[in-house]
Amino acid sequence: MVRVLDVTEPQPEQRPPPDITDEYEVISRDEEGDGYDISEIVDMLKGMESGEGDAQP
């Protein structure tokens, strides 16, 4: 069976960015395009993986 694909380029919808709406809050901005320090994210994920923060008996 041949599946027909729509290859037309979708035109972007006009919509205010998340930080302009009340729906979202900004956690961090990269103003220069030089990247983020994600230490907090990595440390949190490693903590979850090791069970850190589990309730102690």
Partner: protein, 156 residues
């Protein structure tokens, strides 16, 4: 500054997506990982931006310094996109550079150019060892540039 005058960042990414991508990168250490970024492109005040609201992990053939999609994994990704994310489109890709920083290698640039032809398509590189992440776009010729972005979270 009123909301209408705020600069439009080329990329907005939901915090939970960055968490998922970083988790993927940590789980596979010391190997690299690869996947797709999902979301939508929008325009505002004449500028195009992408809002990254999801990701799909790619099954890969990876080492500590290279990664590529497994030959049969692209069909799985297409099926996952259709089944689980019908309201989203692919807006870029991510991969990890464990311990050697965030940049695009010549191979990365070639991959981006061949697979992500739209101007708004972005590449996210995560280094879970140096604990860094950065967005890039490929520019004219064989160069690339860092892209301004914002990490956002939906208010509860």
């Amino acid at each position: 500054m009123c909301a209408e005058e705020r600069p439009v960042y080329p990329v907005y990414i939901d915090l939970e997506v960055l968490l998922d991508v970083t988790k993927h990168a940590l789980e596979e250490l010391p190997r690299e990982v690869i996947g797709f970024l999902l979301g939508r492109a929008y325009t505002w005040n004449g500028e195009t931006y992408v809002h990254v609201t999801g990701s799909i992990r790619g099954r890969s053939i990876a080492s500590e310094t290279s990664v590529a999609f497994a030959p049969d994994s692209l069909a799985e990704v297409a099926e996952s996109l259709r089944r689980d994310h019908p309201d989203k489109e692919i807006v870029g890709w991510y991969h990890s550079h464990p311990g050697y920083g965030c940049f695009l290698s010549p191979t990365d640039i070639t991959s981006h150019k061949s697979c992500f032809a739209m101007p708004h398509h972005v590449a996210l590189v995560v280094d879970p060892v140096r604990k860094e992440a950065a967005f890039f776009r490929v520019s004219e010729g064989f160069g690339y540039e860092g892209v301004r972005s914002a990490i956002v979270r939906r208010r509860v």
